[in-house]
């Protein structure tokens, strides 16, 4: 195996070991919940990148997260379904909505698509906010059950209501989702997406159904956004007034910044961006009102100084070290 492949595999194993060990080492509920939200953010940023692969940009990813969160919450609350069913349902509904919206939306490109996604997520948020007798509106949904007891093959019945247990559940779902996204990107489908990103007219000319592949990418990305929303809902166990604000433009902006600061050219970039920037926002919590300012300044500095993102730093250092001596 070549060196790059080794780095990838060991980096992946190292990250997973670190993620498993971190709550045990710190053993504080606060940090465990921080890690849970970082895991969810990583999934969101990585799935946002799937839309980027077809050469589009989305500012509406959080809208599909919102659909997922409310689907899962309402299904557990009103229909009494177990979390093991509501979580996939959350993803599926988000994916289906994206599939239906994809056909009209993918008729336009570039900045128009960005605008449409932004409008979509704001419309969903307002719908949730205004549909009082179904989604609870401003008061939100409070006291729906957590993940509860699930039977895991090999482990038997496991109670996922505790913070640490829920963290591991989230981590497992996120890791599997990231693996699927990674494999999809390296598959034939992923190469078709890349072809569309590079030259969509050319791809169409050689017989690729561009519209269909674009819609597929949008739906898959939204499916994982819905999963992220479901995970978030049962982590918070309440979708209150903060939730209707959470599913707004600000979170979308954060996701975009995670992706770009991390570096959108590589799969690991958005995940790295989500982890690093979430940790930075965590450490700047004492000056909470300055938090968005710090993140915004980091974003602007990154696109001005290192537009390829954090993932390009090792490469840059390598180039600098191996530069020819004068």
């Amino acid at each position: 195996m070549n060196r790059e492949g080794m780095v990838k595999i060991f980096g992946c194993i190292g990250a997973i070991v670190l993620a498993i060990a971190a709550p045990l080492a710190l053993s504080s509920i606060y940090w465990t919940s921080v890690f849970t939200s970082i895991a969810i953010n990583s999934l969101m940023a990585a799935s946002l990148r799937t839309i980027f692969i077809i050469g589009e940009f989305s500012l509406g990813h959080v809208g599909f997260m919102c659909i997922g969160a409310y689907t899962s919450a309402l299904l557990t609350m009103k229909a009494g379904l177990p979390f093991g069913l509501t979580l996939p349902a959350a993803g599926l509904l988000a994916g289906l909505v994206a599939f239906a919206l994809g056909y009209p939306f993918m008729r336009v490109k570039g900045i128009y698509f960005v605008i449409l996604t932004l409008v979509t997520s704001e419309s969903f948020r307002l719908l949730i906010y205004n549909w009082k007798n179904f989604t609870g509106g401003y008061d939100g949904l409070i006291g729906f059950p957590g993940a509860g007891v699930l039977s895991i093959p090999g482990l038997g019945q496991v109670d996922f209501n505790g913070f640490t247990e829920y963290y591991y559940l989230t981590l497992a779902v996120v890791c599997v989702s990231l693996f699927i996204l990674y494999r999809l990107e390296k598959s034939r489908l992923g190469f078709t997406w890349l072809a569309i990103q590079e030259a969509d007219k050319m791809a169409g000319a050689v017989g690729v159904n561009v519209l269909r592949y674009k819609v597929i990418a949008f739906s898959i990305a939204s499916f994982f956004a819905g999963l992220g929303g479901g995970l978030l809902a049962h982590f918070e166990r309440a979708l209150g007034p903060q939730a209707t604000a959470f599913f707004g433009v600000m979170t979308t902006i954060y996701l975009l910044i995670y992706m770009v600061v991390g570096g959108k050219s590589k799969f690991v970039g958005p995940i790295m961006g989500a982890v690093v920037l979430s940790l930075i926002s965590e450490f700047t919590r004492p000056v909470e009102e300055y938090q968005p300012m710090i993140i915004g300044a980091i974003a602007i500095a990154m696109v001005m100084l290192i537009p390829e993102g954090l993932v390009s730093i090792p490469e840059k250092i390598g180039k600098w070290l191996s530069r020819p001596l004068e």
Partner: protein
């Protein structure tokens, strides 16, 4: 659900006033996009900042509303020119980086206002006091009429500026064909600065109108930004008549639909509207490829 005539008229008038505020946003956005090819996602924050500067001038120096609003528009013009030079000019060739820079800017401005003024909702003084009677039975608040008049006036001034002055024509030329415009001695950077200045002034005016009719808060800019962008998609990029028609339709949808169909369905209606337009004419009502 019973809807009285008065309620309906109230919705109609509010919708009209809202629509014109959205049009002011859209005109600035389309001007900036037409010349710089950058979508100014921080335009909502310029709108919010315009309202807050007016508020600050009135509460600290007890100035009259109209003077404070004028000064705030001037301040935003200067800010727009500065932003163009130092933030957006480096990203001329790269629209995705420009989007990130714009959203980063909007985070900075929003959190700056929260630090300075807090999260409370505030109010600007009314534009005009008292009601206004049309045909006896229908009562319209006077400030709505003043707001519409101001917005129509500003839009007309912009229209005349673009049609009848040397600089306006230069801007139109630069938007239509930047290379051709350079050959005629029209510098694209100068035009970009001009468009940012004008766009930001219009946004500030919209913010002041909204702040005085409704409430102002640090997040007040998000909704008009979304509507302004939506107007561009519906009306077609760079089309002034398209912006007016789309703005009026969206404003009336916002004003009347909640009364007719309830808030829940009204919040989805702009989305359905834009999907409908996209299906029949993807480049917008008055757009062309």
């Amino acid at each position: 659900m019973d809807i009285t005539v008065q309620e309906f008229w109230q919705g109609l008038i509010n919708g009209l006033a809202l629509g014109w505020i959205y049009v002011l946003m859209a005109l600035g956005l389309t001007l900036i996009f037409g010349i710089m090819h950058i979508m100014q996602f921080a335009h909502g924050e310029i709108y919010m900042l315009g309202a807050y500067i007016t508020y600050y001038l009135i509460s600290s120096y007890k100035g009259p509303l109209y003077m404070a609003a004028g000064l705030s528009m001037l301040a935003m013009t200067v800010l727009g020119v500065i932003l163009e030079r130092f933030l957006f000019r480096p990203f001329k060739e790269n629209w995705t980086a420009a989007v990130v820079a714009a959203v980063g800017l909007s985070l900075i401005l929003q959190s700056g206002v929260i630090v300075m003024f807090g999260l409370h909702h505030r109010n600007l003084p009314m534009l005009a006091e008292g009601p206004f009677n049309i045909m006896g039975s229908i009562i319209v608040p006077k400030d709505r009429i003043v707001a519409v008049a101001v917005a129509v006036f500003l839009s007309l001034v912009l229209y005349l500026f673009l049609k009848a002055t040397k600089y306006g024509q230069a801007m139109v030329a630069s938007a239509q064909n930047p290379d051709g415009a350079i050959l005629q001695g029209i510098g694209p950077d100068k035009m970009a600065a001009l468009s940012m200045g004008i766009g930001c002034a219009l946004a500030a005016a919209g913010g002041v109108l909204a702040g005085s009719m409704f409430q102002m808060g640090p997040f007040m800019g998000i909704l008009p930004l979304v509507k302004g962008l939506l107007i561009i998609v519906i009306g077609g990029l760079g089309s002034l008549p398209g912006a007016f028609i789309a703005g009026m339709s969206l404003g009336l949808i916002d004003g009347v639909f909640p009364i007719l169909f309830g808030h829940a369905w009204a919040s989805l209606s702009p989305l359905f509207f834009v999907i409908f337009i996209l299906v029949i004419k993807p480049q917008g009502l008055f757009g062309h490829e």
